[in-house]
Amino acid sequence: GAGVSQSPSNKVTEKGKDVELRCDPISGHTALYWYRQSLGQGLEFLIYFQGNSAPDKSGLPSDRFSAERTGGSVSTLTIQRTQQEDSAVYLCASSLGPGQETQYFGPGTRLLVL
């Protein structure tokens, strides 16, 4: 079956513009995660959705970052008024359920803010 997909695969934007990044999780997976990865580095947790529960937003770096998950499936990560330090790879993952289920990652969206 299809894995986690993300779009766009690459995004170049100008400082101050808003961007939307999309994640399509594996069908039937109730948990969805967003992470950020700087060049050659480990991943930094951003936000976590589990079913109909309130999302865990504890990793969002500023109020310019927000995310939603519609209908328990597709998720959109929005970055408003982008800054150069927002340049990174944004990775989405999904898992069957909450807790320590295996997370399956998408290929990421490479964001470059000029």
């Binding site: 995660y33 480990g42 930094e44 947790f45 589990q50 990793g59 993952a93 909450p98 807790g99 320590q100």
Partner: protein
């Protein structure tokens, strides 16, 4: 400060050599995972260890979870060029749902 300290960050070795990557923390983790990531792709899970002192083997890769569940290691025997990639450790902590805390990663290059 990094909750999971991974070392070394870069490793360049010759084919056939052995290597060990370390992942250390002052905090207890309910489980530790190791991932491998290729350029342009997301991380792929290699193994999960959940019990203190646990050792798991995956072909030439040996994973160990420390007795106190604060550290882990990945040992590769007779490295091959196909082992080249970014290796990441990541842990789950109790009462934090499914979110993973990642180490900084180890960029491994195995030269033929």
């Amino acid at each position: 400060t990094q909750l999971l300290e991974q070392s070394p960050q870069f490793l360049s070795i010759q084919e056939g050599e052995n290597l060990t990557v370390y992942c250390n923390s002052s905090s207890v983790f309910s489980s530790l995972q190791w991932y491998r990531q290729e350029p342009g792709e997301g991380p792929v899970l290699l193994v999960t260890v959940v019990t203190g002192g646990e050792v798991k083997k995956l072909k030439r890769l040996t994973f160990q979870f420390g007795d106190a569940r604060k550290d882990s290691s990945l040992h590769i025997t007779a490295a091959q060029p196909g082992d080249t990639g970014l290796y990441l450790c990541a842990g789950h902590r109790n009462n934090q749902g499914g979110k993973l805390i990642f180490g900084q990663g180890t960029e491994l290059s195995v030269k033929p």
